[in-house]
């Protein structure tokens, strides 16, 4: 079976202005389609059990601040047959995500990965190789670290054996049942955002002058964070920010004037099982003034969300001592918003 790459190339994402592209590969039943469905089509993780095997290359395009196309190549493809076509894909691709099922024997997977890396780096020396050690929700903490260590060791050893030293390769532990997949995907996307340094700089300046402890720039639709300031980040903070986005959007939709199809978010757990209530959350944001919300927590932390341009949202953590100056903070955020708009116009 040959890949019908021509079909895919007809898609607008691959048109005259090719947007950064991510290719997802891996052996069959590794979890590639589930990841795409959960991240970009709002499917509930439990529903991914019913997804059928992918037979043709499928592309998900998500456009917000940055336009991305994620192309998922079916696992059954015998890769060596389609070598030439593959090189065309790799050369215009920013990152290659390879999904390994950590609950299964992964030796075959690693062999496949190795040959893919050889071809990819040949076609595009600048490509980022991202290895997702997937389905780790079924493994204990020790097991996960062992798997990561083992896989990292094997892959880098094999690359060294072949004399490839300058390959940009990273390993991530992921699962669709928690926030780890979003975090990993965020890191992949960040490496492809050309304006990343500028965004981080803007966020740093904002934080310093507004008494904000931590700020994230999230894409509301996929809950990937595009940039964050330079202060250290921990996972619980990231998780509560993603949950906060869910809550704000859900609550807003309860009183929204236009009756668009309601998004199914994680907080709307498993409502309407079976009926495909899959909508792009970005489209379901009602038009109106930019959404914002603030929440006080008992430990003195304030969560602050403000919708920005193009489906982005700024989510900040402050301490309650900053609250009396909230007007100044909001003033600063308006400057930040203007900067984002200009950045988007240029880019």
């Amino acid at each position: 079976m040959t890949m019908s790459v021509d079909e895919v190339h007809d898609g607008h994402a691959f048109g005259p202005n090719p947007s950064p592209r991510i290719v997802m590969m891996g052996l069959r039943r590794g979890g590639k389609s589930s990841i795409c469905q959960v991240m970009f089509h709002n499917m509930q993780p439990l529903d991914t059990l019913y997804i059928e095997s992918t037979t043709a290359p499928t592309t998900s395009v998500f456009s917000s601040f940055i336009d991305f196309a994620v192309m998922e190549l079916p696992g059954q493809i015998n890769f060596t047959e389609a070598m030439i076509d593959a090189e065309r894909i790799f050369s215009s691709c920013g990152a290659l995500i390879y999904v390994i099922d950590s609950q299964d024997e992964y030796i075959n997977s690693l062999a496949n990965l190795h040959s893919i890396i050889l071809h990819a780096v040949n076609a595009n020396p600048n490509i980022n190789i991202e290895v997702f050690i997937h389905k780790v929700d079924g493994l204990s903490e020790d097991f996960r670290l062992d798997a990561q260590r083992d896989i990292t060791q094997r892959v880098t050893d094999e690359l060294l054996d072949d004399g490839l030293v300058n390959v940009s390769i990273s390993f991530h532990l992921t699962s669709i049942f928690d926030h780890s997949i979003y975090e990993a995907f965020s890191r992949v996307v960040q490496k492809l955002v050309p304006q990343l340094a500028t965004l981080e700089n803007l966020l740093n300046v904002l934080c310093q002058h507004s008494g904000i402890e931590k700020a994230f720039l999230f894409d509301i639709g996929s809950k990937i964070f595009v940039a964050t300031d330079s202060s250290p980040m921990d996972i619980p903070t990231y998780e509560i920010c993603t949950d906060f986005i869910d809550i704000t959007v859900d609550m807003n939709n309860l009183y929204a004037a236009d009756r668009r199809p309601k998004p199914v978010t994680r907080s709307d757990a498993n409502a309407n099982n079976g009926t495909a209530n899959i909508t792009n959350r970005l489209e379901s944001l009602p038009q109106g003034r930019p959404i914002g919300s603030t929440s006080r927590l008992s430990n003195g932390v304030i969560l602050y969300l403000q919708q920005m341009v193009k489906g982005l949202a700024l989510v900040c953590l402050m301490r309650k001592e900053s609250m009396p100056n909230i007007a100044l903070v909001e003033y600063n955020i308006e400057f930040f918003r203007d900067a984002l708009e200009q950045l988007w116009l240029i880019g």
Partner: protein
């Protein structure tokens, strides 16, 4: 001061979902967590303080046949005396519906003898397992039989279709618990006053731990007020999830303020046991005038269709003042009106 004690009987076949429901509403389990619950052994008692002046005495009666036999023989007296409400759970997938209804009838017979003033509730549970088109029919069919049997004992049964996987669970339990609150009409009256004075479109009062709706007032004074008909239980569900997220940071949330696309909403602590949500909608009708709103995004000055900063502060001040009044209501003697 002795608060009102309300004894609730939670009965139904083994595996119908009684303990799962109980743990989600009263013990902060997520729907996912309930899979680790085992069969209930005999009767599990929970004493839950609800508001300041009421204790819910929940009897979760294990549904296995051996226990059920006891309930209707040796423990009849103990179980069915002084019952305020019976909540009977029907598993919509049950293969022995006849037997379930017979058990229901037995309960009614015993209640007629020992607690004739008890309120009867039937939950048609696990509705997520029925395809959407059939749900209404399945529910109505079962309720018809239940209404007929209840009428035989001069009871009126109130039914709900529920599942732990969406907000319908909150709707059912809010309704049930509301009928048990001794002075719910007093809450309603004062909430109405609060809503009128604040000129709010909607005001909702929630119990703090369970986030069940105690009372709500909808004035809908703004022409731009649009709302989802199932919003009350959805809010309970959403906020419960938020509480679970916050607990991961070892904190609890105290307040939430939303500047939405068409509304402004505040959720704040009212008393030690309640939280209040105040919703003010867009003052102008936004239908067909998206252009205007779109333009005003960048021009903060012409944004006067939304609640101004001053009005927001007034709401917060009102909540503060009303707090004392609501605290008094909670501590009221339950028999006073």
């Amino acid at each position: 001061m002795a608060g009102a004690r309300r004894k609730l009987l939670l009965m139904g076949r083994s595996g119908s979902g009684k303990s799962s429901m109980r743990s989600i509403i009263f013990s902060n389990y997520s729907a996912f967590d309930t899979r680790r619950l085992g069969a209930t052994i005999d009767v599990e008692h929970s004493h839950l303080r609800f508001l300041g002046n009421m204790t819910l005495n929940l009897w979760d009666c294990g549904g296995q046949d051996a226990y059920m036999d006891h309930y209707f023989s040796t423990q009849r007296d103990n179980i069915f005396r002084m019952v305020e409400a019976l909540i009977f759970v029907f598993d919509v997938e049950s293969k022995e519906l006849r037997k379930d209804i017979e058990t229901f009838v037995l309960c009614l017979r015993n209640l007629y003898e020992f607690s004739p003033t008890a309120k009867i509730f039937a939950l048609v549970h696990k509705m997520d397992l029925v395809i959407v088109e059939k749900r209404q029919d399945v529910y109505r069919a079962l309720m018809k039989s239940l209404e007929d049997t209840s009428a035989m004992f001069s009871f009126q049964v109130q039914g709900f279709a529920t599942t732990i996987w969406d907000e319908s669970l909150y709707k059912a339990w809010s309704s049930i618990v509301c009928t048990l609150i001794p002075n719910v009409t007093v809450f309603q009256k004062h909430l109405q006053t609060f809503a009128d004075i604040s000129e709010a479109d909607e005001v909702i009062l929630f119990e703090k731990t369970t986030f069940l709706v105690i009372s709500h007032v909808t004035n809908a004074r703004s022409p731009g007020f649009r709302s989802d008909s199932t919003r009350f239980e959805k809010i309970s569900n959403i906020i419960k999830q938020y509480k679970q997220s916050c607990s991961k940071l070892r904190a609890q949330f105290q307040s939430l303020s939303l500047r939405g696309s068409d509304c402004t909403a505040y959720l704040d602590t009212m008393t030690a046991n309640t939280m209040i949500m105040v919703i003010m909608s867009n003052k102008s009708d936004s239908r067909g005038s998206t252009d205007q709103i779109g333009n005003s995004e960048n021009d903060g000055d012409s944004d006067d269709s939304f609640a101004s900063e001053a009005e927001n502060n007034i709401i917060l001040a009102n909540i503060k003042i009303a707090r004392k009044m609501f605290e008094k209501i909670e501590m009221m003697n339950p028999d006073a009106r």
